[in-house]
Symmetry: C2
């Protein structure tokens, strides 16, 4: 089921053959289908002389992975869709580390959002502006244009919505570390990557000037990366390649002075990956001469120094730097934080939705992507309701056929069912209903049903709210978190080597993985234009190397 049909179903409540869906929706406290029917009825009395009923207004905040995937699947003809974002383009963020060193050009990974929306059959309006405030009580959002205020006309406006989709992503999290905002670079936006590229060249240009001491040159050529997650590690690897394949050839003076240091608070870098990948990365970095400091917490950053505490000894250490990249974590955007406080989620760190992606604590607001997380529901809590809904003939037993009728709805709402079946290598529903001796049963009573599903909730995982999950979620049949049918988690490690965790818990490391990375990333591009450009950039880099002009 694509997200479009899901969205339609939730909004319009098509209940054909789907009693269960209604029941479950009721049980979770809000039935949009009911609300919709009610409000449309109300309005039609006022506007009965108009030919077409007013389309429902859907306001989408954001143009990142989540929003773009949503827009690509939405039946824009059925709604009055307005998109608001401070960026008028979609950016393929997994390639941002490549942009920092010019392996790929910034413009090759962006696609104007209007190019994406104009392909949708209906008319989707886009406005380049930032949403400053969400007012769920009055169903309004307040926005401000991010363009130069000198241009004519009001730069603030508000929009009313019937449904609001929040997909604004996350922002950098400094954990309130002093000096980080002032003296560190980040890697969340395309502009960040461009800024890093210029900063790296600046460090080299400054370091080779006359009248500098050796120590000053070394300081300027010391690149520090705070955070040993995929972004930091990929940037370190890219930078290492950039230095050794390109820059040191034209800045020979810098050869023995340049250094890259990764600071990680945990015990290992890439600690969300398989252990084999961790240790491969650590060994490769050691061979490459990239320093990895684990168990260190950065206390503050000044224009000249990174100050940190070694966790094991409590010792304070200072490190002069030319440039610091802060990639230690993500946080909630102010507009979302403010919204969370309004709806009673003020004590949470991230916006919570139910399994329908509806924001908990308010109506007609949906959220997904990096800015939200799904609070999953246990199947055992609803087991009686499910059984009753599925047992259409009220016989007190559930046949395989009856179960078959509702299983799709069950899986959407309780994705752990599918994960459980996969983990047990069940190929068909009948396998799920087998008795404890492994014999197939044609029907089960409530106790049998309970025992068949008793271990299902163990499969519940709080899936990471990453963009990849989100993208894949929307684009494939079962769009939701439970499925997480990803192409794998990749960590390019430089020198044409990469590591990956592939579906089915396979681990792949080395040169062939880098080629897999190339093909996956090329195939996942949002348009043919960006696909051609990205592949062109890779080719250009192989032939001519990376450009070191300071632009």
């Amino acid at each position: 089921m694509s997200f479009f049909s899901y969205f339609n179903r939730v909004l319009h409540g098509h209940t054909s053959g789907s009693k269960l869906l209604v029941l479950c929706s009721v049980s979770s406290g809000g039935l949009i289908a009911y609300a919709d029917a009610h409000s449309e009825g109300g309005r039609s009395t006022v506007k009965h002389n108009q030919e077409e009923p007013r389309k429902k207004r859907v306001v989408v905040l954001g143009t990142g992975w989540a929003a773009t995937s949503f827009l690509k699947d939405l039946d824009a003809k059925s709604y009055d869709v307005k998109v608001v974002s401070p960026r008028n383009y979609f950016a393929f963020t997994p390639l941002l580390p490549s942009v920092t060193c010019g392996t790929v050009e910034a413009r090759s990974i962006v696609e104007p959002i209007r190019n994406i929306t104009k392909k949708r059959s209906g008319q989707i309006q886009f406005w380049e502006a930032e949403c400053l405030k969400i007012d769920p009580a009055n169903k309004k959002v307040f926005c401000r244009s991010s363009v130069d205020e000198k241009l004519a006309g009001n730069h603030k406006f508000s929009l009313e919505y019937d449904y609001l989709v929040i997909a604004v992503g996350a922002q950098v999290n400094t954990f309130n570390t002093p000096g980080v905002l002032e003296h560190c670079l980040f890697l969340k936006e395309v502009e960040d990557a461009q800024r890093i590229r210029r900063a790296v060249i600046d460090c080299f240009e400054k370091a080779v000037l006359p009248e500098l001491t050796e120590e000053e040159r070394k300081t300027n050529l010391h690149f520090v990366i705070v955070g040993g997650g995929p972004t930091g590690i990929e940037f370190a690897a890219e930078l290492h390649d950039f230095l050794h394949e390109d820059l040191l050839k034209i800045y020979p003076l810098a050869k023995d002075l340049v250094k890259i240091t990764v600071i990680q608070s945990g015990d290992h870098i890439l600690n969300m990956f398989d252990e084999r990948i961790c240790s491969f990365a650590e060994q490769k970095f050691q061979r490459d001469g990239i320093d990895v400091l684990t168990g260190c917490r950065v206390v503050n950053v000044s224009d000249k120094l990174v100050n940190m505490k070694i966790k094991s000894t409590g010792e304070d250490v200072s490190m002069p730097h030319g440039m610091v990249l802060w990639s230690a974590g993500v946080g909630t955007r102010p507009v979302v934080k403010d919204f969370m406080e309004q709806i009673g989620q003020g004590n949470r760190w991230i916006l919570a939705t139910d399994e329908w992606l509806r924001v908990k604590g308010c109506e007609d607001v949906y959220a997904f992507g990096d800015c939200a997380t799904v609070d999953q529901r246990k199947i055992m809590e609803d087991i009686l309701t499910i059984f009753k809904a599925a047992d259409k003939d009220d016989s007190g037993t559930l046949t395989i056929e009856e179960f078959q009728d509702v299983v799709e709805d069950i899986i959407i709402r309780y994705p752990q069912v599918e994960l459980y079946m996969k983990s047990k290598h069940f190929s068909k529903l009948a396998d799920l209903l087998k008795d404890s001796e492994g014999n197939e049963r044609d029907a089960v009573d409530i106790e049998g049903f309970k025992s068949a599903l008793s271990h299902v909730d163990l499969q519940m995982k709080s899936l990471p709210a990453t963009a990849q999950v989100c993208l894949l979620g929307f684009r494939w049949l079962h769009f939701l978190y439970g499925m997480y049918r990803h192409f794998g988690k990749f960590a390019p490690l430089g020198g044409e080597q990469a590591a990956a965790e592939l579906p089915g818990d396979w681990v792949s490391i080395g040169h062939s993985t880098q080629w897999l990375w190339y093909s996956v990333y090329a195939s996942k591009q949002v348009s043919w234009r960006t696909r051609v450009l990205v592949v062109g950039d890779w080719t250009r880099r192989f032939i001519f190397g990376r450009d070191s002009s300071r632009i």
Copy 2:
């Protein structure tokens, strides 16, 4: 003769078979060959225990056309060459108008200066810094790094030179018009082009926001270009194509609101071109709906209005704008202005050099490109000296053979000779010495020589100090101003049409000229990398159009 050999010759005074050169140099007041020998002798007594004599220090200011062409031809092994420029790259500036609209990407037209210099056999050092002051009395230049001052080490330094080469180019000239610096965009640097690109998108994004009046939308979509020279006109044409081929398709609301106006103080746009080109351009712009206001002088620019005076009537007119590009002329950079005051050229508007490109009024300083102009010398002023130097056997008559021996030197110093011969369609020297009846002579006396050359000085032209002249000058056999063997002056006019003045005073207009423009501009790229990228960009534009992401 390439510039390298010329430079060597001037510096070292290789007089083999070139008495005339020495004589002429003496007559013009400074003999570098003599100065060189003198100073080297002086220094060798101090450093006699060193094996190699210290190489002469050549400091080059700039990385534009002039400096780059000079560096490409210089025998870097014979000198200690240092290059200082605030830009660590060479930019192919004729394509800047294409960068403003994304027809070509900024990075495709730049080449790191280190990539260019590393190909030279000797070691050329480059420092990214701006020269703030030239001290010709102490033969020193004072520079400041343009990089963030937060990086470690002193950001100011000074360099001593034996020879200084000033090739810093020109800067925008606002003619002190109030508000221009604050409210206009320019098109001199790569960053300018990127800024314009973002500004155009900003105007569109702002114009389509909700809650704006029609008038406000129109104001934001009014693009004003001040200056009807090649840059302004090419930008207007590029912008028109960008609007109609790309932007209006994704901003349909802007269709009837957008307007481009060119303001020209003269009576015609492109008035340095042939009349046929002028009127073709004016007609094409009229068909395209680009407003051309001639005979208007801009009095001041505010954030909302361009205020101008209609020259014929004296009437004051105001025009609301979304964006103003100022391309009305070039001026002298402050560092050159200050230097001119030190050497007694304070009352001139541009630095003057002699025909050897030596700055007048100081020693061992050379200047060329947009920052300087050559004061040409009349051949009739030196006619006696030339005759005596050429008449080796002191016979009182000059034979064809004797004339042949010195003609190369004459042509360098008095380029009008070659221009004159071309204009008369003389194919050989003997033609020049023909008597008034057109009979060939084997020898001439001084009066005959005078009358043969009497009309030569009429060919003296103050050649425009454009980058193209400079580039071509250096790269081809006769490098100097007199030759101006250009590939033609081009004016792309949009819609795949261009106009050109080609060598031999041919005028070419239309689609085929645009293809000629493509091939000339591709062939003139500084490296294979930029050539491939530029052609790739053109191809990409044909297939996918221009990108409208605001990055």
